[in-house]
Amino acid sequence: MSTESPSKKSTAKAVEPEYLEFEDGAVIDGVHYHRHDVVIVGAGGAGMRAAIEAGPKANTAVITKLYPTRSHTGAAQGGMAAALANVEEDNWEWHTFDTVKGGDYLVDQDAAEILAKEAIDAIYDLENMGLPFNRTPEGKIDQRRFGGHTRDHGKAPVRRACYAADRTGHMILQTLFQNCVKLGVNFFNEYYALDIVMTKVKGKDRPSAVVAYELATGEIHVFQAKSIIFATGGFGKIYKTTSNAHTLTGDGVGIIWRKGLPLEDMEFFQFHPTGLAGLGILLTEGARGEGAILRNASGERFMERYAPTIKDLAPRDIISRCMVQEVAEGRGAGPLKDYVLLDCTHLGAEVLETKLPDITEFARTYLGVDPVVEPVPVMPTAHYAMGGIPTNIKAEVLSDNDTVVPGLYAAGECACVSVHGSNRLGTNSLLDINVFGKRAGNYAVEYAKTAEFVPVPVNAASFVQGLVEELRDSNGTERIGALRKELQEQMDLNAQVFRTDESLAKVTETIHTLRGRYKNVSIQDKGRRFNTDLLEAIELGFLLDLAEVVVYSARNRQESRGGHQRDDYPTRDDAHYMKHTMAYLTGDPHSADASDHISLDWKPVVITNYQPMERKY
């Protein structure tokens, strides 16, 4: 198995034209060709929000490996932030400040300002589209507290999260899908994008098409487009204990990486404090927003010691570390003292059943614990990728610190704008997908209105054809499941809440070994129809690539900031590291030493109003 660029596989004969001429819908040598002004990859919140803008204004297609309503946006629970001030005084400037501080000052402040300002319309857009938000007694959208969101620059928690019970993400996904149905958006469901085609135009690489694999038939499709938007979500499956879906394998981020385009701030991964112990299934921070309390074995509310002002509503990175520390110091609960407790018992059945019904059910179903009467065992779970494909505030993808790739956009969890810096605040991601999904859709349309199609080379499909054939024909001895399990376990052990150079070196070694074994992987399903065996193998390839970038970037950042905590460098070091990491694939990914094929660079942080300060809560 190789992950190299497609060029090698070219079968072009001398007489063939370099570029393909085709009609939309043509089938040439078994490959399907499509042409659309805008192609969106991904139909989660970000992809569908973009589609709602682009669909009515340009010929748009959405390619998605999952049926849209299966996307993991639907798993989001707690809420979406916007300073509506429906229940108490609030404004977008406070929200901007909280976002910057929450991200440990690695946030691009121009982007954070847009996020907080446009939040208000983003919420009204969703409500007007039909989203059934919970209501105040006056019939307005209700708001609840969430970690790190405060009034007047940290004075006290503020009610900023708009919500629909504890299924806010579900309601966002459904509402966006309903509006896509209304607008007749053209979906290609269960199509896996596996490559983006870059064509040299005047010496520059320009995106010309997306290549996708159709799950139902095993056929390959080339989608030519003027504008391409990536909205493929996160990659939590590099870890074992995660709140992420099985399908969150970072395909889109991996595709961009393999093209030699940079990835930003990959070392910053968020571990959410309250995953069901041992399972990783999320219990929303909204529970603590409603008053739930974290306790150690002796029943102590330990967050009072670490964050005296906002206690259990401190940002996630801080709480996760405190939890791990409590356990490490022997104060964990349970027979093995290996978790802490989320105590919701004082909230009462009424609040749990009406405002937090889903998580109440998760605890009952999966742990057999009833939160109404007993505290729930929890531990941090890999939750959110702060890093990803670097973009500017127009959602345009960057090929270095400031050069835009014309016609290429990214939004949502796969992108890094960067509004989350080194640690995302709860409720800011549902916001991000709406604000920057909408922007991506609009800017993609604007570009497509005047741009020409970039020609598609004759061998556009050959990389994907090679990838698929190689896996189908392989008679190797390694199993995907075994490799993936080892990767995930080692990432949990060595690159989780606390990291050291030693632990990161260890998992680097593991990844290198696994890469070698991956070359010898075989799949058992050799068929064409619904071959999920094949796709899991391809997804594992992306996971290995991304885990390596995460670890390599993490080793290089010798400080502790936000979601990246180095035990060997326990403090924030603004003098050396107040900058974004930019990682590039510059060599053969199979070369022994990651430094042979990954190059790192830095990108300045955009600072407008807020100078870095110590982060106390």
Partner: protein, 268 residues
């Protein structure tokens, strides 16, 4: 704190009943359209803990024994609607069915949901299901363009709360005997999603939807067998939603109460 509380991971405590894994036999209805003329049943033995999900058992088969076994799944905790299947003759989500909730002295029978075209193993063609969903106009129809949010009282919001939970898994529709024999019937899920809008005080399109569901393939085909309500993994009272819609059709309108937010008395 009960010690029932923890999952199976190496480092965690185990509930009494599941300290040791035990062998469970799965009997799965297989079908590969490229090879098989007819579906057939195949046995697999897997090692499971009591607190494992049926989805974990399927993964064990796929990842350790037979990679050709095909099924859909994503979230693994009952929120995405990918993995509705027939488990011991009942429609359930594989990710929400724990081994301990089944009779493990007997094999576990697993097959695809019924009434939709079988594609491969546990995968069916969902398109007919989504066609019915689209047909009921599942989106807010409202002509006003408010500056901020539309106002809706807590009570008005509560009327349709139950049906907003639907994850379009098709467990209900594919458990319905009427749907099995008449694929044209809209089916419970489409009616649930129509209900979600018909009873939303902000919506202006209920008449259209009530007309659509008054059709011969509409709500009147429902025989109130309650299979759908039993099947729904989200605990939606599906049969009640269908009855609400029937009543609204007979009444000629959804019969929503006037807003309880009006400042003037509702009646003299």
């Amino acid at each position: 704190m009960s010690d029932v509380a923890v999952a199976r991971d190496s480092s965690s405590a185990m509930p009494e009943a599941s300290i040791e894994p035990f062998t469970v036999t799965l009997i799965i209805r297989r079908f590969d359209p490229e090879v098989d003329a007819e579906p057939h049943w195949q046995d697999f033995d897997v090692k499971m803990y009591a607190t494992d999900r049926v989805l974990d058992a399927l993964h064990q088969v796929k990842w350790e024994q037979d990679g050709t076994l095909s099924f859909r799944r994503s979230c693994a905790h009952g929120v995405c609607g990918s993995d509705a299947m027939r488990i011991n003759g009942r429609n359930r989500l594989a990710c929400k069915t724990l081994i301990k909730d089944l009779d493990i002295t007997k094999p576990i029978y697993i097959e695809a949901i019924k009434g939709l075209p079988l594609e491969k193993d546990l995968i069916v063609d969902m398109e007919p299901f989504f066609e019915s969903y689209r047909a009921i106009q599942p989106f807010l129809i409202a002509s006003d363009k408010p500056e901020k949010e539309r106002i809706q009282s807590v009570a008005q919001r509560a009327v349709f709360d139950d049906t907003t939970k639907c994850i379009l898994c098709a467990a209900c529709t594919s458990s319905c005997p009427v749907f099995w024999t008449d694929g044209q019937y809209f089916g419970p899920a489409a009616i649930v999603n129509a209900h979600r809008f018909i009873f939303d005080s902000r919506d202006e399109g209920s008449q259209v939807r009530l007309d659509i569901l008054n059709d011969k393939e509409g709500v009147w085909r429902c025989r109130t067998t309650f299979n759908c309500t039993e099947a729904c993994p989200r605990g939606i009272e599906v049969t009640k939603a269908i009855s609400d819609v029937k009543a609204a059709i007979l009444r000629g309108n959804p019969g929503l109460p006037p807003s309880d937010l009006t400042l003037t008395p509702v009646s003299a």
